[in-house]
């Protein structure tokens, strides 16, 4: 039976996690806009939180809303290869992927603004746990 102090700590941690998740989304969106403006990225990426895939749950998954959804504003329907390319760019950023996992996300979703096709990745496969750089 958790003590009152444990319960209080969990409540405070929950609020901190919510705040950290919001700041991650805001920071990602700002960086994506800057990358597009500077010509580094060919498309504008916009992140938001989604329900996620319940089959991808891991030890740190949140109870609800475990998906990190990225919408790519390309103006035309992207092929599956292009969508996977965008996903790979995100997954190649190890600190970002580890931060996502620690904040309770378990699914990365990428789709474009045209069409209804998208790709999902299980984030736990990409955190290289136990490996030190």
């Amino acid at each position: 039976m958790p003590s009152l102090v444990d319960l209080w700590t969990r409540i405070i941690e929950w609020f901190h996690d919510r705040r950290d998740r919001s700041s991650l989304i805001l920071g990602f969106n700002k960086s994506a806009k800057d990358a597009f403006i500077n010509g580094y990225a060919p498309v504008i990426l916009e992140a938001r939180i989604s329900k996620g895939n319940k089959n991808y749950k891991h030890r740190f998954s949140s109870l609800f809303n475990t998906g990190f959804r990225i919408k790519a504003y390309s103006g035309f329907a992207l092929s599956k290869n292009d969508t996977i390319n965008i996903g790979n760019v995100i997954l190649a950023n190890q600190p970002l992927v580890r931060r996502l996992v620690v904040l309770g996300f378990d699914t990365l979703e990428v789709h474009c603004d045209v069409g209804n096709q998208g790709c999902q990745w299980q984030l736990h496969d990409y955190i290289q746990i136990g490996q030190v750089e």
């Binding site: 580094y40 790979n88 760019v89 190649a92 209804n116 999902q120 496969d125």
Partner: protein, 81 residues
């Protein structure tokens, strides 16, 4: 129903007040219901079909095209030439 309820009030001011309040509540109810219906319709229209990508497939595409914007742009230009 509205007329029957309003006839319970003895003063015209009371009846007017409650009549206006009921009108506002009903209007809000119908407006909110229409907005929720439209939002649901929009959500169903924009529903995305998700393709689960395995690590092997992801690594294969990364080996072909790279995993940073510069290599992807270079490979895209090569395909378009």
């Amino acid at each position: 129903m509205l007329i029957i309820i309003l006839s319970k009030y003895q003063s015209a001011a009371d009846a007017a007040f409650w009549g206006i309040l009921q009108g506002v509540v009903f209007t809000l109810f119908f407006v909110v219901r229409a907005r929720l219906k439209n939002a649901r319709k929009k959500r169903l229209q924009n529903k995305v079909e998700w393709d689960e990508v395995s690590k092997d497939e992801s690594d294969r595409v990364a080996n072909e095209n790279g995993s940073d914007w510069d290599s992807i742009k270079k490979n895209n230009n090569k395909d378009n030439v």
